[in-house]
């Protein structure tokens, strides 16, 4: 693919650092999981999950770009950025889950193990060199999440998990159909430019199934139900990591195969934006609302796929996915703090009176979702429009502009409610809130982590170039 990249001479230390760090990380999480399973009264699986995420985080900082001798994975810049972001999101998800799950319960010990396995799948998925690795890593990412959705072991959870599983199975099938078409036509498993029409069609199907994972309409019917039924911490993981890896993988496939895919992509983007925005307008539950907003965000992310060959656009996509992931992790992290006391939009009424700081943080994340200036979301949206302009997809831009204006309405719903005081039945409100306050334990550490996320969004909202400097893209000159 990137012929311009000069790979450094490969050394034994490099191979050791990649596969070694992965194996060490995997080993740690397995050990932690096993100990927690055998010794019923202790649960150290979350600690081992944290440590193993930290190991790959360190690797992403010290690792070097080189060529994979097995021809399975691209060890390039996007790979390292993906490892960095995915391990950060995983660490966040571990902490967020701790406040929501009963982690002393040995049953939840596999939760953290699954989380790490899924993160591994996501990492490999962003950088697969062939369609087989891509498929396996996609499934490696998905299967643990089906189980994680069911972490609460309640009725709505099992329904969501089943729906997610069925939907995922259908699109795995679609992927395999596409893959076999490609294989028939091209007789290679490497991601490559297809020659026959059958190969092109196969790649279409493969991209559809990747976009399905990213929650793009019209393959989005699982999104609202899964977001609603799953624990907030799982949604935070799924929203940040799964979306990230699916779209990066889709970008890679489109970039390498160089197929002209404009019209269907534009149509999918417009459908996603319309469905996401219209659906969100009438929702009464915060999780469903964010689910529909995530569908509309998928539409905006597709804008980047139009001009996938452009090096700038790759950086922009990473910026969008990173800031979107941060905002998703932040808002579901905050929701998870309240356990099940913050489900409906009506529950937001008077929130700012009880939890002033938390409602401020929710405000920042939602403003970033909405793409209001002075948050990172603004630049993310700006970049997505810019990418669409590069290839002159004007219709998509028009729908995007209308959609982002209309979306302001539902984004402001939770915010305006949280600053609103309920005038009627204040007495019942007070008793309810007092009961609620007894149940809510706000972990100060998680709150601190989420404040850092909010701070990052604000800083990037003023100086977006900082991100590119971090990932070594366009240099920022002060």
């Amino acid at each position: 693919m990137e012929t311009s990249v000069v790979y450094e001479k490969i050394s034994f230390a490099d191979i050791l650092s990649v596969w070694g760090s992965f194996l060490v990380s995997l080993f740690i999480s397995i050990i932690g999981f096993l100990i927690s399973k055998i010794k019923k009264n202790i649960n150290i699986s979350w600690i081992s999950a944290l440590v193993s995420a930290l190991v790959i985080l360190v690797f992403s900082v010290v690792g070097r770009v080189y060529e994979d001798p097995f021809q399975a994975v691209f060890f390039d810049k996007i790979f390292f950025v993906s490892i960095f972001l995915i391990s950060v999101f995983s660490i966040l998800s571990v902490f967020i889950s701790l406040s929501e799950l009963d982690y002393k319960d040995s049953l939840s010990s596999e939760f953290f193990f699954f989380l790490i396995i899924s993160a591994f799948g996501a990492i490999l998925m962003t950088s697969s060199q062939d369609f087989l690795t891509l498929f396996l890593s996609k499934e490696l990412m998905s299967f643990p999440i089906y189980a994680m959705v069911y972490a609460f072991r309640d009725k709505i959870g099992v329904e969501s998990a089943l729906k997610y599983f069925v939907a995922g199975a259908i699109f795995s099938l679609i992927y395999l159909v596409g893959f076999s078409f490609f294989l028939m036509s091209e007789e290679v498993i490497r991601v490559a430019e297809p020659k026959g029409i059958l190969g092109v069609f196969g790649i279409y199907l493969i991209i559809f199934s990747l976009l399905f994972k990213g929650g793009t309409a019209p393959f989005h019917f699982w999104v609202p139900d899964v977001y609603q039924g799953a624990p907030a911490s799982v949604v935070s993981f799924a929203g940040s990591v799964v979306k990230f890896s699916s779209f990066v993988a889709a970008l890679r496939v489109i970039d390498i195969t160089k197929i002209e895919f404009f019209v269907p992509l534009e149509a999918l983007a417009i459908i996603s934006i319309v469905v996401g925005v219209l659906g969100a307008l009438v929702q009464k539950e915060i999780k469903r609302l964010v689910a529909y907003s995530s569908i509309s965000h998928s539409g905006f992310i597709i804008f980047f796929l139009f001009s996938s060959g452009n090096a700038d656009v790759k950086n922009y996509l990473l910026f969008y996915l990173a800031t979107y992931g941060i905002a998703t992790a932040g808002i579901f992290g905050l929701i998870s703090l309240f356990k099940k006391n913050l489900v409906y939009l009506e529950d937001f009424v008077g929130l700012s009176r009880k939890h002033r700081y938390i409602s401020l943080l929710i405000g920042i994340f939602i403003l970033s979702f909405a793409g209001i200036p002075m948050t990172a979301g603004f630049f993310a949206k700006y970049m997505s429009f810019l990418s669409a302009f590069y290839t002159e997809r004007i219709l998509a831009v028009v729908f995007g502009a209308i959609g982002s204006i209309a979306s302001l309405y539902f984004y402001f719903q939770p915010m305006s409610r949280s600053f609103m005081e309920s005038v009627e039945n204040t007495s019942s409100q007070v008793t309810a809130s007092q009961e609620g306050e007894d149940k809510v334990y706000i972990s100060p550490f998680v709150l601190f982590l989420i404040s850092v996320l909010a701070l990052i969004l604000i800083v990037l909202g003023f100086i977006p170039g900082l991100f590119f400097r971090l990932i070594g893209g366009i240099p920022l000159s002060f």
Partner: protein, 620 residues
């Protein structure tokens, strides 16, 4: 001190003030929560009293807040002899479009910086006195400082994106400050109205920026020359939509009179002296662009100037009268900016900022003294001039004369320049319209003056104790003095030199004629409203018998009210609210339909997914 440092001080000193105030606000909230809990525990019912105290946070805020714009002002004075373009940092570093965060210092921005920072320093000082007893003191100054920061961004921007940042920022602060006392439903509604109306303007502005970007491949001002002739009008039209929204011109005037619900110093600073002139500033800044659409700008401006003057005649609320006068003067500025000598518009912005700020601050003093009374007829009953509020009365007179353009007050110089420039560019039609506008100004402004201060025995004693205390007295005094001597700064000639108009202003219309028209306006105003108590008993009977009291309220009442009714109802009720209700209904129906597709059993989800896939395959 090098130029770069000065530029940074100009651009960021108010932001520093904002940060300090934000920290103070956090401290104060924490304190007030604990003190509230304290008083609740004790069972006191007078919790509101403690908030009126002038505590330590308020003291720090009162000290820091005026200092922030003052620092910018001093830096502006120091940078006056220089001319530079300081690139502070690359804000949005993209490969094709590089947007820098910079400080552009030329004659135009220096002029604007002088009045923005100078007037806002005075108004900050005034506000300390005005808001002393308000519990939201720190919050108020936080937004005020933030406002100044964004306003400076508008002025010093060298590209459209930085301009847009300031543009949205001042709007945001403006909504917060209009709805500052957000407990009142009407106040919140006024803020909302300003928000909605500005959205229409901003929509045009964004489209304008995008067109500019697409046509020229950049957002810097100097890229204007890359536009092709046939592209000029579209870009100018959409950008002018933005300018009309911010400066409340044409059909977008609706929000400004309602914006007067905010604290009076806010009205003075934001809705009269600075923010609303941003539109004029942009038109002058992008003169090469707007020159291709000069008819659009001129006729929108001049028609607004005349219509708003007429509407001003039917208002009893002193702040709303001033709001209409602002609208009218803004129209004149646009008229000036549309001519070949664009700088005349900016010149009038500069001079206007002094007397309009002074007028608003005087109305603030009146409100402060008389329990927030704003009705001019009720203010008259309080007899402000007999109480020795000589600064208010005299200052109001001077500023009214200045606004009417009487020699040698500040307004004369700029208005004269505009009339001559319009006569040169737009010929007779333009000149007549300008003369009508100059006739209306004294009529409605002197109406306010005669009603409020007329028929009273003026007590001449210039002392701060009568006029709202020294914190409010001296800023107003300075502004009044500036309105008198504003002409000596010779900003017009200075600005004119930049554009190569070094020759003396050519008087196309004799200043004497203008003065005759102005004094005719004053005379009419005096005849109708000026005599107050001196009307004899017989005349009074006559006056009442012929219902001239009603006539006083509106010789033009039918026409004027009708016009206002039409533009208000047709435009606001039908167009804006109708549009919004139709759109919201359709989207709701769409939303219900869309969400009905979702949910259900896993089998249904699977079915829908397969249908979705079929749709996607059909698109291929």
């Amino acid at each position: 001190m090098n130029g770069e440092l000065k530029g940074i001080i100009i651009a960021f000193a108010p932001f520093l003030g904002f940060l300090v105030n934000a920290i103070l606000l956090l401290i104060e909230t924490r304190k007030s929560i604990s003190s509230k809990e304290h008083t609740h525990a004790k069972g006191h019912h007078g919790a509101g009293h403690s908030e009126g105290e002038f505590g330590i946070t308020k003291k720090i805020s009162a000290f820091v807040s005026p200092l922030a714009p003052f620092a910018s002002f001093v830096a502006t004075l120091l940078i006056l002899p220089e001319k530079s373009q300081i690139n502070i940092f690359n804000w949005i570093p993209l490969e094709n479009v590089n947007v820098s965060f910079s400080v552009l210092i030329d004659e135009l921005s220096k002029t604007a910086l002088l009045y923005v920072t100078g007037v806002s320093t005075l108004i900050h000082i005034y506000s300390i006195g005005y808001m002393k007893h308000d519990e939201g003191f720190v919050r108020y100054f936080m937004f005020l400082n933030l406002f100044v920061f964004f306003m400076i961004q508008i002025v010093v921007a060298d590209n459209l994106v930085q301009l847009f940042l300031g543009w949205e920022g001042v709007g945001l602060c403006s909504y917060f400050l209009i709805g500052f006392w957000y407990s009142g439903y009407e106040n919140a509604r006024a803020g909302f109205k300003a928000f909605i109306t500005n959205r229409i303007g901003d929509f045009g502005f964004i489209v304008g920026i995008v067109l500019f970007l697409v046509y020229t491949g950049g957002v810097d001002y100097n890229k204007v020359s890359l536009l092709r002739p046939e592209q000029f009008f579209a870009v100018a039209f959409f950008l002018f939509m933005g300018a009309a929204g911010k400066s409340a011109q044409g059909p977008l005037w609706l929000w400004l009179p309602d914006a007067m619900r905010g604290p009076t110093p806010v009205s003075a600073l934001i809705h009269a002296a600075t923010m609303v002139t941003a539109g004029v500033y942009m038109v002058v800044r992008l003169e090469d662009l707007f020159f291709r659409a000069k008819e659009l700008v001129f006729y929108t401006g001049i028609i607004t100037a005349i219509l708003m003057g007429i509407f001003g005649l039917f208002e009893r609320d002193i702040k709303r009268i001033l709001a209409f006068s602002t609208l009218s003067q803004l129209g004149l500025m646009f008229a000036g900016a549309a001519t070949e000598k664009t700088y005349t518009g900016m010149f009038h912005v500069f001079e206007h900022s002094f007397f309009k700020a002074a007028l608003f601050l005087i109305s603030g003093i009146l409100m402060h003294e008389f329990d927030n009374e704003t009705d001019i007829y009720k203010l008259k009953e309080r007899k402000p001039a007999e109480r020795g509020m000589i600064l208010s009365a005299g200052g109001f007179l001077i500023c009214t004369l200045a606004m009417s353009g009487v020699f040698p007050l500040s307004g004369f110089w700029s208005k004269e320049a505009i009339i001559s420039a319009v006569a040169e560019t737009f010929g007779n039609t333009g000149t007549y319209l300008m003369l009508i506008a100059s006739f209306i100004t004294p009529v409605y402004m002197f109406r306010a003056f005669f009603v409020t201060f007329g028929g009273q025995r003026w007590k001449f004693s210039l002392s701060p104790s009568h006029d709202g205390g020294s914190l409010m007295f001296f800023p107003v005094l300075i502004l009044v003095i500036l309105s008198v001597i504003g002409g000596i700064f010779n900003v017009g000639a200075w600005l004119g030199e930049k554009y190569g108009y070094s020759e003396q202003i050519h008087h196309a219309v004799s200043p004497v004629l203008v003065h005759i028209i102005v004094f005719a306006g004053v005379a009419i105003s005096y005849l109708v409203w000026g005599r107050g108590k001196e009307i004899s008993e017989r005349a009074k009977i006559l006056w009442n018998r012929f219902y001239l009291n009603e006539a006083e309220e509106g010789i033009f009442i039918v026409s004027g009210r009708f016009l206002k009714y039409v533009s208000f109802n047709i435009f606001e009720k039908v167009v804006i609210e109708g549009f919004y209700s139709v759109v919201s209904f359709l989207t709701r129906v769409g939303g219900v339909l869309v969400s009905a597709l979702h949910g259900g059993t896993p089998a249904r989800v699977a079915l829908m997914l397969i249908l979705g896939l079929l749709i996607a395959l059909l698109i291929i």
